[in-house]
Amino acid sequence: MKSMKSVKRLLLAFFSCAFLFLILLPQARSVSLIRISKDDVRVWGELQRLQIDVRQELETCFLALADRKERDALDASRIGFSVLDVDAAGKDYVLVPLIAPEAESELLARGQAVAVEPGTAVFWSTEGAPLEMLPPGFPRKPLSSASVLPYLRPPIEIEWAAPPAFLRDPLIAHIVGRLSEAELRFLVQSLQDFQTRYATTPGCDAAGDFIHAAFSSFGLDGVRFDPFTFSGGYESRNVIAEIRGRTYPDDILIICGHYDSISPAETRLTLAPGADDNASGAAVVIEAARILSAFPLDFTVRFIAFSAEEWGLYGSRDYAAQARAAGESIIGVINLDMVAYADVMPEDLEVFVNGPSEWLAERLLAAASQYADLAARKRVDASMIYSDHSPFWDYGYAALLAIEDSPLQNPYYHRTTDTIDKLNFDFFAGSARAALALLAELAQPLREGAPRTPVGLTAAPIVYRSLFSTMKSARLSWSAQSDAAGYNVYRTNVSHLSYTKINDSLVAGTSFLDQNIRTEIPYFYVVTAVGNTGIESNRSREAAVAGGGAASASRCQNLGFFDMMPGGK
């Protein structure tokens, strides 16, 4: 009798344990969508240390997928986070802007939405694909399908000693002077004439063919369609061409704009003229290609007309993923999306960048002022993710978005009335000139009579220490140019911005030691060659010496970038 009781107790205990195990196991394994605050500076290091599956960086937070163990680890590290959706397994999420007060209730009527920061919400639905459940006309960006963790860059405090000074370059002015307002008008009209360029329509294909033909007629290199599938099996094509760099063919600058268009659901298959959105941006890309095709350049320039942007940035997401997978060295991306409508004049151009791309905005602002007589406004906002620059941010490339207004003021936006007659061609040409000037400056047209641009620049850090002090230096070396009488070395703390010459007299050899630089900040170097007549060449590509604590350096010489960060291992 007693033994029967014991067996019963044992069985009861066994089944209780099994029940608890079955209840708790899925919870332990379940992946949740979480919002991780950026308030704590350690967050950058901790995300790397814990290898959190970050899917999106926004201005004030990260969105990530994390299981129970990872959430516990974040808790233990005292990194602030909140759970947005407990069970994220198999779900698709879309980021949307909360552009109007009624937007959130509109989203909630169609699925679930949570505001993740002012102006940004994440939307999902259990009824179907969230992209299809979204109200028409909503800008959108699907949450990345892969982790963006490897490409996250912690913020760098830029010490602006003085506003970057730029000189007007006659060669760049000459190039910009070739821009034709009539050509822009022709291109926008031609794209509008396809009636609709909605990404699944034959009109969009025909527009792609038109752009391909234009690129081919300029004699560009590698003109091609870049096909991709999207949204459950639709097909579309990016159109790509390039001018291969004479000095640095593997270092690439991109100018892009999407050529697909959209209008309300009932008309989009037949009429979506999209003159401002975004025949304007695509026209600048084509016009830049026409003009630059006449100039040999140091760096490769790639011209890309993306498709399916209106569906959720599909063309650019596909392209940026391929570029990163191929390890392409993309210096910067200039994305033009709606650059021709002016609600008031003078209109200023809004230039959106994330922190690591800030230099690109500074350069565009300067180019707009020097060559286009256009006011431009820099806006550092990692949450501006609703155009084709955003996938490049996800993969760690510098990129900017040039746009006429944010929030948008164009009353014809995503309507059948977005036609060429609503555009302001003074503002449009100004935007185009600014973008072209920046592109030309970065790509560096070869100059007559100047020595060849130096190549092979490397910068190696050297760190020595005594009892009380640590001294960091950078040893630069480069390849000799036969037509150079000597070299100048330039340095900056902000990539591609505000270079200062650091050699007192011309460097005769092909190496230079920049001694006693600060240990904690990065340094970027370029070299120019100076010919016998004193003419200076274009700048070499940048070589960098990373910033990092000497304390870290003394622990181990092979630490990676993030190991140098607060909270790093």
Binding site: A460, P461, I462, V463, Y464, R465, S466, L467, F468, S469, T470, M471, S473, R475, L513, Q515, N516, T519, G549, A550, A551, A553, S554, Q557
Partner: protein, 195 residues
Amino acid sequence: MKARRMAALALLFGLSASAAGAGREFSFSLSGGSFSPGSKDYQRIYGSSFILSAEAVWAIRRGCGVSVGLTGLRDEGRAEVLIGGGEDYPLRFERLSIPVMFVVAPKIGRLVLRLGAGLAYHSYREKWLTADIDFEGHKIGTRLAAALVFPVFGRLSVVGSVVTDFISVEKESPPGNKVDLGGLQILAGFSLRVK
């Protein structure tokens, strides 16, 4: 902590002054020797170095007194490579110390064993000779000393001594690290009894 040490140092100076004023026995010694740093970092960069020391001892009462001294150290070294290499950065380190100690000096036959404990004020400077880097600082640390004094003739004696300083110094770069400037001094020299 710093204020207390300063007060102790002032007290020691006061006592030594009063001892001198009391007109008791006074001896002066001059010695030189080797300094072996306690810190491995110091050892690697500078190695052992030559040190010069002068000391005055006043006897307050029989077998007990106060000493005040002056110790100078200068060493040449080379900066240590952390990343890269191929350069040569000579360094110079200088330290001047003013120790004040209580001394007990029991006689063992003809020998006098002098044992001392006290504080020392250290002023130090490290300079990179070919780069524009210079670091100066000062610190009060504790000091222990033991010496054997052997009369040779008249008022003259030979002195052999062992001194250890504890000088732990904070440094700013890399942050949070400390430098141990202390170590062991082994000195030999002469002592002259004045009264």
